[in-house]
Symmetry: C2
Subunit: 170 residues, 2 copies
DNA sequence: TATTGTTATACTCTATAACTATA
DNA sequence: TATAGTTATAGAGTATAACAATA
């Protein structure tokens, strides 16, 4: 975990490479493992997929609802896919399209009362799962990890596409 | 980043929940952002997908090659999918199936010379991308993050399936 | 009978591009 | 013309289950 660092600059670069690669593989595998667990439990417990859960989570924060375009930008997927997901959730009576008088090309997607109730249960379970999965770290370690990930994330070179002012505070 | 912790036990649990949830969202979003970047560059630079790259990375570490079953367990996907991926890589002459005299049901998948050369280039580029993406953290922070992720990962309750002794040291 | 690998099928998510209807 | 959303299509990855060949 803490090898002696060589003094030669080129070797140091090499060592640095391996540190980064090992870190990335661990970050990725940890994330995938947790995500798969949550995905599986959402399916088994609530018969819902992660993208559909995510869409409802977006709506939960916005009681007014969101247009398809807003959902597309927030979820960072193309419009056609949002249509599919909203279609499915609509079929299950979890969300609905509400027409806008001021622009008849557009809709506002909101949760139905059924959807709100269903989501409350899912969100509660979800939060408990996450808490359990994170329980290997104490409060201090969690804050430390949160901080380091923040540094890493904000240090990422923003890709070419800063077009749609993506909504992604975390 | 460091709010005062309430003393009431129930509130503390609540606060703890939110810490975990915020941590998880940050972990997930950071991981996805890096993964998407790498995925896109692998496609644009080398015309290869992440699962195919991963399969070749598995073979790279095992000069003797691996059977379909071993690949399936290491990549944690079902056998049918490994068949598909190996088929595609075989079509591009990057890997090959080598028959085993001792068990004619089974094969050993190895990289072709072409595949080995191609993978060397990909791996070099991949490592450099990772290094650049991680550059927001200094060496010490990277080790710290690596350590915390290790604690988190090993604290995860091992899922029910410890059947196939999954190969996943990271 | 059990095991290795393949095939067939289906589902979800994803992107691109053509299209409709409004603005 | 430009924009909001839909539809059509295609491709990748995934799982399940039935199947063939071999052990």
């Amino acid at each position: 975990m803490s090898e002696a660092l060589p003094l030669d600059l080129e070797n140091r670069l090499q060592a640095d490479d391996h540190t980064s690669l090992r870190l990335w593989l661990r970050l990725l595998s940890t994330s995938i493992r947790i995500e798969d667990t949550i995905r599986q439990r959402l399916r088994e417990g609530f018969g819902i997929t992660l993208p559909r859960f995510d869409l409802m989570a977006q709506l939960e924060r916005e009681p007014e609802g969101l247009t398809m375009g807003e959902l597309s930008r927030r979820m960072m997927v193309t419009g056609g896919n949002v249509t599919t997901i909203v279609d499915q959730l609509t079929k299950e009576d979890l969300v609905q399209r509400v027409t806008l008088p001021e622009d008849r090309r557009s809709y506002r997607v909101t949760m139905t009362p059924v959807g709100r109730a269903a989501f409350a249960g899912m969100a509660r379970a979800h939060e408990q799962w996450v808490k359990d999965l994170m329980a290997g770290l104490d409060e201090h370690q969690q804050h430390q990890l949160h901080h380091l990930l923040g540094v890493l994330k904000h240090g990422l070179v923003t890709p070419i596409s800063t077009q749609g002012q993506t909504h992604d505070p975390d």
